[in-house]
Symmetry: C2
Subunit: 192 residues, 2 copies
DNA sequence: CACTATACGGAACACGTATTCCGTTTGTGT
DNA sequence: ACACAAACGGAATACGTGTTCCGTATAGTG
């Protein structure tokens, strides 16, 4: 691969990283090319299509997530504290990267599983964090990693919708976190 | 307005109602026209553009929601039972109408507020349900109707994403419901 | 320095969907 | 029955984006 080609590939990735983080996957290919200082032809020479580019960037974020989870898993504190920390990390990353938030949000549950599965350790680590908190008795007894994913998607969705409402999503996070806890009361019959 | 025009307007609304409920706002105008048994020209004679048609249908659903809330508000049971009932109603309606779920989900918080506000009583009733549950001490003390909207949007989003996963969204609903309750524990420090 | 494989830019193209236009048809009041 | 305003159908058009094509430029090699 020629040196200028390699340089352009990096420029494109950097430009796309910024744009996706800022405005999500809706950015146009021509805009990515312009910001990278290349023509669209060059962009398409490096990445076969838009999906390829998006997947590359999503991969980066998924690996970042996996690293966070791993760090939490082998960190200190109660199982609940570590699970909660991991969740907060994931939300913070989504808050920093609208592209990730939108991807989790828009691709939904089943579609994005393949991508997530291709990141070694991402789901497994999440599952272990959940299991430990369940065993500890601090999380809902029936909690699964799929519930977790669903909650994270929910926050991601709120982030990617609420452009002009910074910080509103953390309300949802608090509500969900307390919903993930083991509950003292059982069912709607227990109203005072 | 001529009789055939009125009839066509109804056919179009009926067709669009079905299609939107089934597949969301992504349906093509030509498809709506075909199902209604008219040409696209006729469709555009009755509704200036796609938005107008969608708003009409959204209006119907919002009024249905408002009626549900009203019924719950003046219904029997504890304030919590009524709030929970209203939430479950709203989710059930979204489950029946993908168009609504998608609209709540896709238009996000700020964008759909104008539409919701144009439905008299929708937000006010929701707020009163929340207030009563808070006063009763059964809901989180800091709960607002905006939190409620956010949670309902979250479920709507899950519904409109999970095409092939019927019934997965109710897990999210359960988690959120228990998160909306007044909690016995305070903050992450209380882990056992 | 010359030569060539590789890469480059960006205009042109492909495509899907909303929307318009206009020649034809039809309801309705006289 | 007649006239004509109103309505109809659906081919044609507008438009925004992703993607391809090809004439030109250039890095690397001997």
């Amino acid at each position: 691969m020629r040196a200028d080609a390699r340089r352009n590939r990096e420029s494109i990735l950097a430009a796309a990283r910024d744009l996706f983080a800022e405005r999500g996957a809706g950015v146009e290919m021509s805009e990515v090319a312009e910001r990278a200082g290349v023509g669209v032809g060059t962009l398409y020479r490096r990445f076969p299509d838009k999906d390829a580019l998006v997947h590359e960037l999503l991969g980066e974020r998924f690996r970042e997530l996996a690293a966070c989870y791993q760090r939490r898993l082998s960190g200190e504190g109660s199982a609940w504290e570590r699970l909660e920390g991991a969740i907060r990390d994931a939300c913070a990353i989504q808050d920093r990267d609208r592209g990730l938030a939108e991807a989790l949000s828009a691709t939904g549950l089943e579609q994005h599983e393949p991508v997530a599965r291709s990141t070694p350790g991402l789901l497994e680590t999440m599952q272990r964090l959940v299991d430990e908190a369940v065993d500890e008795g601090s999380a809902r007894a029936d909690l699964t990693w799929e519930d977790l994913v669903m909650c994270l998607c929910g926050v991601g969705h709120t982030i990617s919708c609420a452009e002009h409402l910074p910080g509103r999503w953390d309300r949802l996070l608090e509500i969900q976190l307390s919903g993930l806890r083991a509950t003292a009361w059982e069912g709607p019959a227990a109203a005072p």
